[in-house]
């Protein structure tokens, strides 16, 4: 009886200070055997930090951790693993060039005669993947796998280590609705086997669906608990942010004009040389938002790259404002066609981390008047431009000379958005414009996108967030395996229908 009530995991008074930031302050958290605890909080609320402390990656500045009622000292993840704690990290911790089996066994290898016993590991993986219905091929190489499969590998990785306490840090951010359902089934299965799960997400609906209990963090502190039976999305959002949040986007009906972007029969390959686009055709008109939905890895990235000149098209045509822009240079497309591009991967494409904010704000306009005359760069013009944008777009930065890379993720995104939105535009291409940023900033960016549309800009929006697509788009295109499997007017779109399309199921009733 008594052991039943002892939490499997408890944190007492955890405080974590980083230089200049208190990431966690006096956080108390309990996790019981066989429950799913959801952890909610804005960006930077300290969720990942707390989990990293529980997992032994960070040392708390103050406070203690108890596992099964005993205080424990964890100096590194191996201590946590030994205590039966497993973690699926927000950013996948997989070695891209290695196989699934190698990644899973890493750190707890099976060895026979001094050599790795890959066959035994593979057998064990197959067994686990059958038991939990997590389909993975032990010999596949990680970088060949779509994100959904990588997610499954991460989960198997923790199960492989016999974890009893599972920490899942934003596991659903990149999954399709169907995959999310699958994940929830697995979580329930694990729970029923007596495992305990901490589940972090920004999607309030999921929390209400799967959690047994909810804990909310705000600015590093626990601000309350909620019962999924009684809580609503709005009440949770208010608890998280500390104010009422409008979760829906207000917008007028669209008033589409002439075609701005026309894509015809486009074909291209991915980095590995495999076909990624197989004959994609669609168009975007001035004054409308076309959303492209789909599970990551179905060609959306390549589509954007081809349209913006970053990737070579093998076949097909791209026209912008009637001008042929197939395989034109990025500069021709941004400048001649007056288009802008909020890239999906801001760290890779959108910014140069060591550059100061001011230089990042002219990353693709440095060669234009007034920022330069001939080859002479006009530092003063660049600085005043930066000062203005930082204010207008509320980019929180100590100064415009601060390296862009040291801003928080959300502010980096705002910096990129500010640069792209501040030009005269015909065409706006926004890929995952709100990825990983908090509700307040999302609100701001969404309103900006709608305002652009209302000013007659053609908007191509790519997002893996179905909610975002549904909230903003006037028409929705769904990509599956390099093709547009269907284009649906917003009014006729349903979550279920889109989810099926994203999974490749073409329903006859859905108009194409």
């Amino acid at each position: 009886m008594s052991t039943e009530n002892i939490p499997v995991l408890e944190t007492r008074g955890i405080t974590k200070r980083f230089p200049g930031v208190v990431a966690n302050e006096d956080v108390n958290l309990t996790l019981h055997k066989g429950e799913i605890l959801a952890l909610l909080g804005e960006n930077g609320a300290g969720k990942s930090t707390l989990m990293n402390i529980i997992y032994g990656l960070y040392q708390p500045t103050e406070g203690e951790i108890l596992v099964n009622g005993t205080p424990v000292q964890m100096n590194n993840p191996s201590d946590a693993i030994a205590l039966g704690i497993g973690m699926v990290h927000q950013h996948f911790q997989l070695v891209p060039v290695m196989t699934v089996a190698e990644n899973i066994m890493l750190g707890s290898e099976s060895v026979k005669n001094g050599l790795l016993d890959t066959r035994a590991v593979a057998a064990r993986i197959s067994e686990l993947s059958q038991r939990y219905n997590l389909d993975i091929d032990p010999y596949a190489i990680i970088e060949d796998l779509p994100v959904g499969a990588r997610q499954r590998v991460e989960i198997v990785k923790t199960l492989y280590r016999n974890a009893d306490i599972l920490i899942l840090d934003e596991p659903t951010a990149v999954l399709t609705p169907q995959e999310i359902e699958g994940l929830f089934e697995v979580m329930t299965l694990l729970k029923n086997q007596g495992k305990s799960i901490i589940f972090i997400t920004h999607k309030l609906k999921e929390v209400l669906q799967v959690a047994d209990r909810i804990t909310v963090l705000r600015q590093g502190k626990t601000v309350g608990e909620a019962d999924p039976e009684t809580a609503t999305q709005n009440s949770l959002a208010a608890l998280m942010v500390g104010r009422e949040v409008i979760l829906t986007v207000e917008k007028k009906p669209a008033n589409p004009q002439g075609v701005v972007l026309a894509v015809e029969d486009l074909a291209a390959r991915n980095d590995l040389g495999d076909p990624a686009l197989r004959g994609v055709s669609f168009d975007v008109r001035a004054g409308e938002i076309v959303g492209v939905a789909g599970v990551q890895g179905n060609g959306q990235t390549e589509l954007v790259e081809v349209v913006t000149g970053l990737r070579h098209a093998d076949a097909g045509e791209v026209h912008i404002n009637g001008q042929r822009m197939t395989n034109a240079t990025p500069r021709a497309i941004t400048q001649a066609a007056a288009s802008c591009h909020v890239p999906e991967d801001r760290h890779a494409y959108g910014m140069v981390s060591p550059y100061p904010v001011a230089e990042n704000l002219v990353l693709n306009t440095y060669n234009l008047v007034p920022y330069s005359h001939g080859i002479n760069v006009d530092t003063r013009a660049i600085r005043s431009h930066a000062t203005e944008l930082v204010k207008q777009y509320d980019v929180r930065t100590p100064s415009i000379d601060t390296p862009g890379g040291s801003l928080s993720g959300g502010n980096q995104q705002k910096m990129v958005v500010a640069r792209e939105f501040s030009r005269d535009l015909n065409l706006l291409i926004a890929a995952q414009p709100t990825r990983g940023i908090d509700v307040g900033s999302i609100e701001f960016i969404h309103n900006q996108i709608v305002a652009k549309r209302d000013n007659g800009v053609a908007v191509l929006l790519i997002s893996s967030e179905l909610d975002e697509i549904m909230a903003l788009s006037d028409r929705i295109a769904v990509m599956y395996k390099g093709e547009i499997i269907g284009i649906v007017p917003r009014a006729e779109a349903t979550r279920e229908g889109l989810g099926l399309l994203m999974a490749g199921v073409k329903d006859e009733r859905v108009p194409v």
Binding site: K16, F18, L57, P77, Q93, L106, V111, L115, L116
Partner: protein, 350 residues
């Protein structure tokens, strides 16, 4: 094309080429084909012997680089580590001239390994503990070793004796193949063995798996409880030891003496061989052998009195062939992803 398939294809090609070379060598050295000057130049025993011997320090140097870089530490200091190892081996040999030859030589090899290892440890400490840019650290190692060995070198010291060939009974009697492969001094055998050992270790053991993980994605390794920096220290130190062994080869097996700057750029060629071989032991072996072979060829041509074109152009052969090979059919190689980056476990807190 996936890099993996690519490397399978290219290993196949090199295997076939090696096979052709051996068959031709057998024919040329055992049949009247050997009367043709050109065939002798290309396939004579002397060319093959030269190839192997010129390749040994390059192979060891490249293996040294592989161990370091696979764990994420760039090592451009191979040249310096080699030189320091050579010097250490030399000093030890001079100090133990009075011992029985074999004991003295083995002791000197151990000292060369130790000195090389210390250089590796220095490189690791500078780049991990003191967060020095790894290119700079490698450069420091090179200049330090060059300056220090020249400063300390007593040019009147004489090392007496060096490793002699140990023919392997039976195998050494095979025509052509015997004298080339089975009649060599010990470090040569050891080097060829090390290629296999390091290949197996890197791709089929726990240590290798962890080393590669640490070099590709240290954070992932850290999250499964691997001590990233410990692996880097150990690997870089072992890498230093291999470079030290290359130095030992030069002093104790190839020449029998030390000389300032005697590595004469071999560390840099090793670096090129490592990259050329895409950070794989067998790739490095192939690259080193290719380089050694072209060096042998140019020497053979000059020895054969080939003067149709200026001798400087003949001497360019190894370098030009390497350039053509890397650009023509090797192309883009892929370094370990985390190479050169400091890894900090605890985001600079406290």
């Amino acid at each position: 094309m996936r890099p993996n398939n690519f490397w399978k294809t290219s290993s196949l090609i090199s295997l076939i080429l090696a096979g052709v070379l051996v068959v031709m060598a057998l024919l040329v050295n055992m049949t009247p084909l050997g009367n043709s000057m050109w065939l002798r130049v290309f396939f004579g025993i002397s060319a093959l012997n030269f190839t192997l011997r010129a390749s040994i320090p390059l192979i060891l140097g490249a293996l040294s680089g592989i161990l370091c870089e696979r764990s994420g530490i760039i090592n451009i200091g191979i040249e310096g580590m080699m030189l320091a190892g050579a010097f250490g081996g030399f000093v030890a040999k001079v100090a133990t001239n009075g011992w029985p030859l074999t004991a003295s030589l083995i002791f000197s090899v151990l000292i060369a390994l130790a000195i090389g290892g210390l250089m590796g440890l220095l490189h690791a400490t500078l780049s991990i503990r003191f967060r020095m840019d790894q290119i700079i650290s490698g450069t420091v190692i090179i200049i330090l070793a060059t300056g220090f060995t020249a400063y300390l070198f007593d040019r009147n010291a004489v090392a007496e004796g060096k490793f002699n060939a140990l023919p392997i009974p039976g195998l050494a009697q095979i025509p052509v193949i015997g004298p080339v492969f089975f009649d060599n001094p010990p470090i040569t055998y050891l080097t060829l063995l090390l290629v296999v050992i390091i290949h197996v270790a890197l791709f089929h053991t726990r240590w290798g798996l962890r080393t590669r993980a640490v070099g590709e994605h240290p954070r992932a390794a850290d999250t499964v409880g691997i001590n990233v920096n410990r692996y880097r220290y150990v690997n870089t130190t072992m890498g230093g030891m291999l470079a030290g062994l290359a130095g030992a080869f030069l002093v104790l097996e190839a020449v029998g003496q030390f000389q300032e700057g005697m590595t004469a750029g071999r560390g840099f060629i090793s670096l090129a061989a490592m990259i050329f071989g895409n950070w794989n032991p067998f790739g490095a072996l192939g690259a080193s052998l290719l380089f050694g072979y072209t060096q042998a060829l140019q020497n053979e041509l000059l020895l054969a009195g080939f003067t149709d074109i200026p001798r400087q152009f003949v001497s360019m052969l190894p370098y030009v062939v390497t350039i053509i090979a890397v650009s023509g059919f090797v192309g883009r190689v892929r370094p370990p992803a985390a190479e050169g980056k400091v890894y900090e476990t605890e985001g600079s807190s406290e």
